[in-house]
């Protein structure tokens, strides 16, 4: 990149946002906030990026890609042969549930477009039952409103992690 150091797209400004993100993530992890690493990093880097007026830079894309590969690696490591066999037996019902969620995705996206005047890409990505990290990255790539997509998925993850999950753990922990 040949931009001068003071330009908004400079690597220095991008680095400030990234470092602030790491600091925010570490802080919320230390405070034991559920999904604190991700939530704190988004909030910290968004706040710092806004202050220094950082613009999209290849450094940010590289950091995101490295993080996604690492998360993919960790997720796949949780699978073993027995899990694969059991997964094969329930694959069809699980797929049916995902298809149902995708239909709901379409219905809710239509509601957001018609009722709340969101652009179609933002509406579809905001209602998709995917992962927060992946959909936020996809929102950047698709030119959608990243803030809106990220906020709605943060709401979903926080609702599940703070309300639904403790309830399920309480109930399931008491089953025979």
């Amino acid at each position: 990149m040949s931009e001068p150091a003071a330009s908004p797209a400079s690597p220095h400004r991008a680095a400030v946002g990234l470092l602030a993100g790491a600091a925010g993530g570490l802080l919320l992890m230390w405070l034991r906030v559920p999904a604190g690493g991700l939530v704190g990093a988004v909030l910290g880097s968004a706040a710092a990026g806004s202050l220094v007026k950082a613009q999209p830079h290849p450094l940010q894309r590289g950091v995101r890609t490295a993080g996604l590969v690492l998360i993919g690696c960790v997720s796949a490591a949780r699978l073993d042969r027995e899990s694969f066999e059991l997964l094969g037996r329930v694959a069809l019902p699980v797929l049916a549930a995902v298809v149902l969620l995708l239909v709901l995705n379409g219905v809710l996206a239509r509601w957001l477009v018609k009722r709340h005047q969101l652009d179609p890409a933002t509406a579809v990505l905001a209602c998709a039952p995917g992962g927060l990290s992946e959909l936020s990255v996809l929102a950047v790539d698709e030119g959608a409103d990243v803030g809106t997509v990220t906020v709605i998925h943060l709401l979903r993850v926080l609702l599940v992690v703070l309300v639904v999950l403790p309830g399920l753990v309480f109930v399931l922990g008491r089953l025979p």
Binding site: G17, L19, A22, G25, L38, V39, A41, V42, S50, K53, P56, Q60, R64, G67, L68, V69, L70, I71, G72, C73, V74, S75, A77, L79, S83, L86, L87, V90, P93, V94, A96, V98, L100, L101, L102, L104, L108, A109, V113, Q117, D119, P120, C127, G130, S133, S136, V137, V140, D145, V146, G147, T148, T150, V151, L155, V157, V160, V161, V169, L172
Partner: protein, 172 residues
Amino acid sequence: MTSAGPVLLLGLACAGAALGRMLRLPMWPITGAILGAATAPLLGLGLDGGAPPGWWSAAGQLLVGSGVGSMVGQNFFASVRRVSVPGAGVVLPIVAVGGGAGVILAVTGLLAPTPALLGSVPGGVGEMVAATAGLGGDSGLVAGMHLIRLVVVLSALPWMLRRARRLYGREG
């Protein structure tokens, strides 16, 4: 597997991601990495004693969060104020339908209640898998159920985006 296990796993994940990029897989960094690393057990590379260290998950979340957050700027905080209410209208049905599917899987006896419910509610994968492990359930199975959801959703999204743009125009 020796202590080189995590390094091998990461190598497979990187190779999978590179292949995913070549094949234009949707969200190739994560879908390719998952598919690449998931070949480890199939290749006979057990993970006993060689599973990725716990900080890899935290590091991944920090890297992704920092990368995404640094690109949203002031827009993000304006969005928090603007979309909280419609956001709730979107989130509640999604969580209810996911939870309902989990109840059906448990009631029909296809799965035990713990993996059925924690594998079906579309929340944070890491948290659901960690909770399953804490309850003594099959955390690998729950991870797999969430992976199916992620791969199917991420594969379907490009088509859904094209269709939505055709139906509503680019700006809605």
